[in-house]
């Protein structure tokens, strides 16, 4: 019987005019099979002396030889320590508390080490105000094992020893007496370093200290300094705010150093029928905007108006829809009184002052114990740059910053830098600045260093080394001690400093063990305040007209942002971060210009999927005055405010970075006046860019009820659970029964009552899509990096992905209605194309759902995947023969196949291909080989370890002891893992919660992962 069914290869087939459809019809193989590579050269083939028979002989012989050789087992050597350190037991991990403070990311952390190697970063639960342990902090352990690091100090390009280097410095400092030298550093927020620098500058009075934040917070710092006298950033507790209005501020991302997601998420979990109300006005679609109850796209110049209107002005000049939203927001802010919070990312002092004044009475703002994670001043840095260019500054010492890469006028600066009499760079790598410096002092990674930090006033933390320096490096502070004639090591210096002024009689060792200390000790940190003249108030002029660009006529308003993966670009050589898909665009290995659909149409810019589903995009040239950025790829971004564009900083590095990781374009030349908002002209350029975007489908196509359930606070509070969180039904004996009913099962159940039974709970209201879990999973489970080309083919190996969905209508609800009302023969396009104007956005972390009735298990021909009674769906890699039936039968598409050998393979030259990079591997998890399927194991190595520890100690397991890598990385508490057989467990309470549902519950897989549906606060009054 012939069938008329038409099978689709791509959604593009919906579009009959698409050239892809034609291509698909004409060619059986979508991409040409590269036979030419070996058969094309006829001459070579003919001239070959190997006949067919010879060839077969060789094959036969080598096969036989290989078979024989394989029978002989290799001789494995075991080399024990000569003297084993007391704290090391082979096979048992040690944890050390430390702190990451690289000038951009500040976080209190725990470092997991195995046999003396740091292998993973975890959160330090003892740290209350400990910064944000985000994806970059988790990935920083891999940057330690970067093979491009500097191996020793250098003078004039030649490697020297440290005593030689010190002699050279002493000589140079003598020569430089009386000449102006600038010590240009990152923000350290370190009491001891600050003390040390003042000692250094008092010994060499010609040295001036300037702090340079690559991504500036100068406006906010100036405003705070004007009002409160100290140079710091106010700290916010979003959990105390009932109404949050953000004008451009991506506070769940990197706004003012980040670290607000925990407080925010606390206020977003319905408690006593209440959650906070969050309104976001922004140009780029950010993580924060995606979580907002109401998001209004607005260009930076409109944001300026909005901020003025919210703080007392009038909204009359704004478009109607924005003005309406502003007035409603204003009313809600007023109503909330002390529980209102207004934040903005507009870079000028005036705007920051407006917000600061508005929040003056807010309970959510803390100005007494402000954050010290940013110190830089735009005017000071500008003075320094001008001084170097004009020649008034003769020497420059850079520490932890890379001005030749990150200054807006870096080319001009580089020319002047070459002519300086003294150039000394403290750097971990031969970066842009270090490669031009006459003297380079190789510094260790923070995991090899001692140090301290005061992230928030009154909260002190320590940095301790977790491994001996891998290379011949010396930390900046030790160098300063040496050069100021102090014979102490920095460790002793910190200890002395802490004992004298911070510990207040407390124990040094206990503090070191905890890593953090809340102390009332007031210490004077050297403050690098910009000079205030006359009135003593930092005016707009001192921030050098951050918004002057916006006043220009014409062009598009550009908002520069830092991406979740790369941040300010310090860790650009980290393959985990490069392959980390951006939570919003889902593209990896790139930065790109985000453009609104309307503007894209006007400029004739396109995004299209080629026949294998991969994304291509047009190029544009960006012009801003003299600065031209050529061939910037474009992504058409739903929700981007019309007339605005966005571009990520931190990409386009070329020095001391592996070729594969030299991705994207350097956007810092556009960062004029250190202002995140600029005006640019755009013109289309020829060619198409190939993106590595991991998500082909952007909408749920009207299936929101099966995938991401959502409701409003009003309905949640007033209606029955069955109304807003109904369980799917199925037919049984002509009656409708719930799929949770035992009768709905076609499989006999497993006995899971004895011992633990694991469940993972994910609260979609609390999940901000930050991606910390993705990187934590990478580190814990030895997930390989596959490279841009493979990601483009959707062969990324992430065990845990965070799906991002746009609504096809204004909201997901509208999308469902559209689908239901769709005429019978109409195209599904109506629900498959996201609403470009302002769609609703939702994140959903998806990993193996560990189904109790797993479809993958039943189709495996070799029983390589099977079910455990603890609820885990287990995967025996050594048994897998790679049929990929399981992946095809998995409704969640969470199984990843090893298409190639990703370790010790030059084709995939990432961390698993060099001895240094392999040090990060977790010895408890096997590294998979080519041709096997892999997937989330629910961190069975961690659950087994917890069980074993309990057995060894002969005790029962308490709730909260079980963890997965993702659940312990989750800062917002969105992921909770535990044993549902434990009647008192948190996860059981969550499982019985009204918001609980399963992903695609109607397919009857009975997953052990469950979600909590989204509740949005849509009340406008």
């Amino acid at each position: 019987m012939a069938s008329n069914k038409k099978y689709w290869k791509s959604v593009e087939e919906l579009n009959e005019d698409s050239p892809i459809v034609k291509a698909l019809q004409d060619n059986e193989f979508v991409t040409e099979i590269p036979t030419d590579e070996f058969l094309g050269n006829k001459e070579a083939l003919e001239s070959s002396s190997t006949t067919r028979r010879d060839f077969l002989k060789y094959v036969g012989f080598t096969t036989a030889a290989a078979t024989l050789a394989a029978c002989e087992g290799p001789v494995v050597k075991s080399i024990p320590y000569v003297v084993q350190p007391d704290e090391i037991v082979p096979g048992i991990a040690n944890y050390y508390a430390s702190t990451m403070a690289d000038g951009f990311d500040f976080a209190n952390i725990l470092v997991k080490t195995r046999e003396g190697r740091p292998i993973k970063i975890e959160r330090n639960d003892l740290a209350v105000n400990g910064g944000s342990v985000n994806a970059r902090v988790h990935a920083s352990v891999l940057s330690l094992y970067d093979k491009n690091r500097l191996t020793g100090p250098m003078v004039d390009g030649a490697e020297v020893s440290w005593p030689e280097f010190d002699t050279a410095i002493a000589q140079k400092m003598n020569e430089m007496t009386g000449k102006d030298i600038v010590l240009l550093t990152q923000t350290f927020a370190s009491p001891s370093t600050s003390k040390l620098i003042s000692e250094f500058t008092s010994k060499y009075p010609n040295v001036r200290h300037v702090v340079y934040d690559t991504v500036s917070c100068s406006g906010a710092l100036d405003a705070f300094q004007n009002k409160y006298g100290t140079r710091a950033l106010p700290d916010y507790d979003f959990s105390k705010a009932d109404v949050i209005v953000s004008v451009g501020a991506d506070f769940l991302g990197d706004w003012q150093g980040g670290s607000y997601s925990k407080g925010y998420a606390t206020g977003r979990i319905p408690k006593n029928g209440k959650i906070s109300r969050h309104i976001q006005f922004e140009a780029n679609l950010t993580l924060t905007g995606a979580k907002a109850d109401k998001r209004v796209p607005a260009t930076p110049s409109q944001q300026l108006e909005i901020l003025k209107a919210l703080t007392g002005g009038s909204a009359s000049g704004l478009p109607e829809n924005i003005a309406d939203a502003v007035n409603k927001a204003k009313a809600q802010l007023q109503k909330a009184g002390g529980k209102a919070l207004l934040v903005t990312s507009l870079p000028d002092v005036a705007s920051q002052t407006l917000a600061l004044n508005f929040n003056a009475n807010s309970e959510a703002m803390d100005v007494n114990k402000p954050l010290l994670t940013r110190q830089g001043s735009n005017s000071e840095v500008t003075n320094m740059v001008n001084g170097v260019i004009s020649g008034s500054i003769k020497g420059l010492i850079t520490v932890g910053v890379n001005p030749i890469y990150s200054l807006p006028n870096n080319k001009e600066f580089a020319e002047a830098y070459k002519n300086l009499e003294m150039t000394l760079a403290f750097a971990m790598k031969q970066d842009e600045t270090a490669s031009m410096a006459k003297m380079v002092a190789a510094t260790p990674h923070y995991l090899e260093s001692w140090g301290d930090a005061q992230i928030k006033k009154g909260t002190y933390s320590l940095v301790q080394p977790t491994i001996r320096p891998l290379f011949n490096t010396r930390q900046f502070q030790d160098s300063l001690l040496q050069w100021t004639g102090n014979s102490q090591k920095y460790y002793d210096y910190i200890k002395e400093n802490w004992t004298a002024s911070i510990l207040e009689g407390g124990s040094w060792n206990k503090t070191l063990e905890a890593g953090v200390l809340a102390s009332n000790a007031e210490i004077t940190m050297e403050e690098v305040k910009p000079v205030t003249e006359g009135t003593g108030v930092l005016e707009e002029s001192t921030s050098n007209g951050a918004l002057s660009a916006l006043l220009q006529e014409g062009g598009y308003e550009l908002t520069l942002y830092t991406s979740t993966g790369l941040g300010d670009g310090q860790q650009a050589n980290n393959p985990w971060l490069q392959e980390f898909p951006d939570p919003i665009t889902r593209a990896s290995w790139d930065n790109y210009l985000t453009v609104s659909a309307a503007d894209a149409e006007a400029l004739d810019l396109v995004n299209e999927h080629v026949s294998n589903g991969a994304l291509n995009g047009s190029y544009v040239n960006l012009k801003m005055g003299n600065v031209v950025l050529e061939k910037v790829p474009v992504i058409i971004q739903p929700g981007q405010a019309k007339g605005s564009v966005g571009l990520a900083l931190g990409y386009g590095k070329t020095a001391a970075i592996q070729k594969e990781m030299q991705t994207g374009l350097n956007a810092y030349p556009l960062y004029q006046n250190f202002s995140s908002v600029q005006k640019v002209n755009i013109e289309k350029a020829s060619g198409m860019h190939e993106f590595a975007c991991v998500q082909l489908q952007s909408t749920m196509a009207g299936r929101s009820d099966d995938i991401i359930k959502e409701t409003t606070l009003e309905i949640f509070n007033t209606k029955d659970k069955e109304f807003w969180n109904s369980v799917p039904v199925t037919d049984y004996d002509h009656n409708e029964i719930s799929v949770r009913d035992k009768k709905a099962d076609i499989w006999s159940p497993f006995d899971e009552t004895v011992g633990p039974h694991f469940n993972l709970s994910i609260d979609l209201n609390a999940c901000t899509g930050c991606g910390a879990c993705v990187i934590a999973c990478h580190a814990e489970n030895n997930v390989p990096v596959v490279g841009k080309e493979e990601v483009r083919k959707f062969r990324d190996m992430h065990w845990l992905r965070i799906d991002r969905y746009y609504s096809a209508g204004e909201t997901f609800k509208e999308e469902i209605e559209t689908l239901e009302n769709l005429p019978a023969f109409d195209s599904y396009k109506a629900v498959e194309v996201p609403a470009y104007e302002n769609p609703q956005v939702a994140f959903q972390p998806v990993m193996c759902q560990h189904c109790n009735h797993a479809p993958c298990e039943t189709v495996c021909p070799v029983a390589a995947t099977s079910h455990g009674r603890q609820g885990q769906n287990q995967m025996a890699y050594n048994r897998c023969v790679g049929t990929r039936y399981c992946a095809n039968n998995c409704p969640y598409k969470v199984r990843r196949f090893n298409w190639f050998l990703y370790n010790e393979n030059d084709e995939f030259d990432y961390n698993m291909n060099n001895d240094l990079g392999r040090m990060v591997l977790n010895p408890d998890v096997v590294v998979r080989s080519r041709g096997v399927m892999e997937k989330c194991s629910m961190c069975i190595q961690k659950t087994q370890k917890t069980i074993l520890d309990a057995k060894l100690q002969g005790r029962a397991i308490k709730d909260g002891e079980f963890h997965t890598a993702c659940s312990s990385a989750c800062e917002t508490g969105a992921m909770v893992f535990g044993d549902v057989n434990d009647k008192d467990s948190e996860v059981l309470k969550l499982k019985n919660d009204d918001r609980m549902y399963h992903l695609l519950e109607n397919v009857g897989t009975k997953p052990n992962v469950f979600y909590h549906m989204i509740v949005k606060n849509t009340s406008e009054a």
């Binding site: 050597k77 075991s78 024990p80 320590y81 096979g91 048992i92 603890q870 885990q872 194991s937 087994q944």
Partner: protein, 455 residues
């Protein structure tokens, strides 16, 4: 005619030859045995006829030597040896070097003596890296006399026992040479016999011919292989048997690929578990301490060896075996000292270390997770269950096949040690309620699940 005769001749010659060999076989064996037995006995030859006869009596008979010996071993041996420098100096003949009262003072409280500025005391103190000797105020003067009596025993003449051991090597070598000599001689005799035989048959044949004896020709039969080929049933059965047999052996061969049972590689230092775990009864966990708490049993670091070997620089003569001499073992201890950088003469570390590259015997593939502590501490499995009678192994070899089938079999048949472990309390209660069982195997607890060992 001539041709046939020749043929027959050869046939008969062969026959005779065969018979001859058979009859000679016992004799041959006897000759073999004799040749070897000489070498065997030669090793046992009593060579220490000169062995230490009762030596001259102690210099000072003012004490009980036996009591002194036990006191010495209990109190002094940790730091002192009789004839070699350890932490402290060698003590033989110390009674003759110093005044008896001075010695009492020194032993009772050496620090005080040094503090008082006594020249001898200070000199000794300086000579021994300024190591303070433990004070023994509890020892009575009689005790000290006893100890001194023991230390005044003259050094026994070096036993010549070492000599035969050394000789054994050379004799073994000699034995090897004589063996081949004997074999050569045998071969020669054999050759001679063959020639004689040939001559005898020739002569006999000539006599027979001369006497007119005529040989009868045998009737021709189908050769057996042809008969076999013609019988198709037999061929079929034979082929099936052959195929089955080939399959059996091929399977057996493939199944042992990668199974290294009995693997006993030569190690960089000949470490004898027989001496340590067997003769000296050292607990396995003393050296393999992480077996109790970690997945790895852990190869002890060299500083663990030095806990004892700082004081044990040589083995006792009775430790030596026929195969391994005392010199051999002492040489191995010297290798340890070299690796750990211990200068035995000066009793201090030189700082020059050479980590020992042991050859790993038990190699599990990477995709198997095995945890020692689970088995040793939780389950209480004896080391010997998987590693064999390790205390008798001079050279350690892999005892168990370490195949998955071997693991699984044990998990199927072994009961979980539920008692006195609070972790299992709840599980036990639930299980006994559910199935009415008191005991359950590891398999029933989920110990056969793939994910328990493969992740």
């Amino acid at each position: 005619m001539c041709q046939t005769i020749d043929n027959n001749l050869i046939i008969s010659m062969k026959k005779v030859n065969f018979i001859h060999l058979r009859s000679k076989l016992p004799l041959l064996l006897l000759v073999f045995l004799l040749t070897f037995s000489t070498t065997i006995y030669s090793q046992d030859a009593p060579a220490d006829a000169t062995a230490a006869e009762a030596v001259a009596p102690p210099a000072d008979a003012g004490g009980d030597v036996a009591a002194g010996e036990s006191l010495f071993k209990a109190n002094c041996a940790a730091c002192h040896k009789l004839d070699a420098k350890a932490v402290g100096p060698a003590l033989r003949g110390v009674a003759n070097k110093y005044d008896r009262d001075w010695l009492y003072k020194w032993i009772h409280n050496s620090s005080a003596l040094i503090a008082s500025g006594d020249a001898d005391a200070v000199k000794i103190f300086e000579a021994n890296n300024k190591t303070v000797m433990t004070a023994f105020p509890a020892l009575s003067t009689t005790d000290i006399d006893n100890i001194l009596a023991y230390t005044s025993q003259p050094k026994p003449e070096p036993k010549v026992a070492a000599a035969p051991a050394a000789d054994a090597g050379s004799q073994n070598g000699g034995g090897g040479a004589s063996n081949s000599l004997v074999l050569g001689a045998l071969a020669l005799i054999f050759l001679l016999l063959v020639i004689m035989l040939f001559l005898v048959t020739n002569t006999l044949k000539r006599i027979a011919e001369a006497n007119g004896v005529v040989y009868e020709e045998k009737e021709k039969r189908t050769p057996i292989w042809k008969a076999f080929v013609q019988n198709q049933f037999l061929v079929l059965v034979f082929s099936i048997v052959m195929i089955l047999a080939a399959g059996y052996f091929a399977y057996g061969y493939l199944m042992q690929v990668g199974v290294d049972q009995g693997y006993a590689p030569v190690q960089p230092i000949h470490y004898s578990h027989r001496i340590h775990a067997g003769d000296n009864q050292i607990d396995c966990n003393y050296c393999h301490s992480s077996a109790r708490k970690s997945k790895h049993s852990g190869i002890p670091s060299l500083n663990v060896c030095m806990n004892c070997h700082k004081n044990i620089a040589e083995v006792a003569p009775e430790t030596a075996t026929e195969e391994y001499s005392k010199e051999f073992y002492d040489g191995e201890i010297a290798k340890l000292y070299k690796a750990v950088g211990w200068d035995a003469a000066n009793q201090k570390y030189t700082g020059k270390t050479e980590p020992v590259k042991w050859v790993r015997i038990h190699n599990l593939p990477d995709f198997v997770y095995f945890n020692h502590s689970q088995h040793v501490t939780v389950a209480g499995v004896a080391c010997q269950t998987c590693h064999g009678e390790i205390q008798t192994m001079e050279v350690v070899q892999q005892f168990a096949p370490l195949t998955m089938g071997w693991c699984i079999n044990c998990h199927r048949t072994t009961n979980v040690n539920l008692e006195s472990n609070e972790y299992y309390a709840k599980i036990h209660e639930e299980l006994s309620k559910k199935y009415g069982v008191e005991k359950l195997t590891i398999a029933e607890m989920g110990g056969l699940e793939c994910g328990k060992c493969h992740y």
